[in-house]
Symmetry: C2
Subunit: 140 residues, 2 copies
Amino acid sequence: MKVDSAGLDVLSREECLELLSSTPIGRIVFTDRALPAVQPVIFCLDGEDIVIRTGAESKLAAATRDTVAAFESDDFDPRTHAGWSVTAVGRTRAAHDPAEIARLSALPLAAWMPGKRDHFIVLSTERLSGRRIRSQSVPR
Amino acid sequence: MKVDSAGLDVLSREECLELLSSTPIGRIVFTDRALPAVQPVIFCLDGEDIVIRTGAESKLAAATRDTVAAFESDDFDPRTHAGWSVTAVGRTRAAHDPAEIARLSALPLAAWMPGKRDHFIVLSTERLSGRRIRSQSVPR
């Protein structure tokens, strides 16, 4: 296992993708009127892409049309602080092709919020990095 | 309870601060070499400011010197998707004054990662917004 300069286990791309497929909730990071913005989302992997379903008129849909965004998911034990986090940075695009939309509609992406959610954001995981923190390695 | 256009409960500033004080883990959102970046952190409230402890030489310390950053914390049930999220956007600064550093050092900010963590980032919660998602309101 590779360890980074801070003493944390460095996860491989394969481990990052496996962890991302183990949880339905993440956070997308984008720019909203020149300010950093972050929003929790339900997501799903489609191959190595991150797929998010939202409303076509949402602030998130508007802010993620053909830009670069970050995405983060994690799972930590609040008591021991042991856990993992995975961060992706990549280009985002809206799905437009009807065949792609039909395919993405079949993904296990539960509707989270009320309202029409017929817009799919696809984030490529060009840069994917992950760390694991072991409870044994946590000093006080 | 106020409800937003997506049908989510809008939390008051007081509720946001109360929820932030209920959890030790959040995510700070900043810009790293012109790209969006996000990093999980242990945090603590100091009045209405968010305080994060890190190493003085860390990427996070360098990226948050006198800028605007976002911060997010949440707690969702992965099964029902019920839960809450709170987002803050505000100016960040490094604590320099020895009296302030002594005071922040006494905060219940557990060391998370190995290594020297003697740098305090203070993020003001100028903009604070929160939403609650009730499991009852989640359609499939």
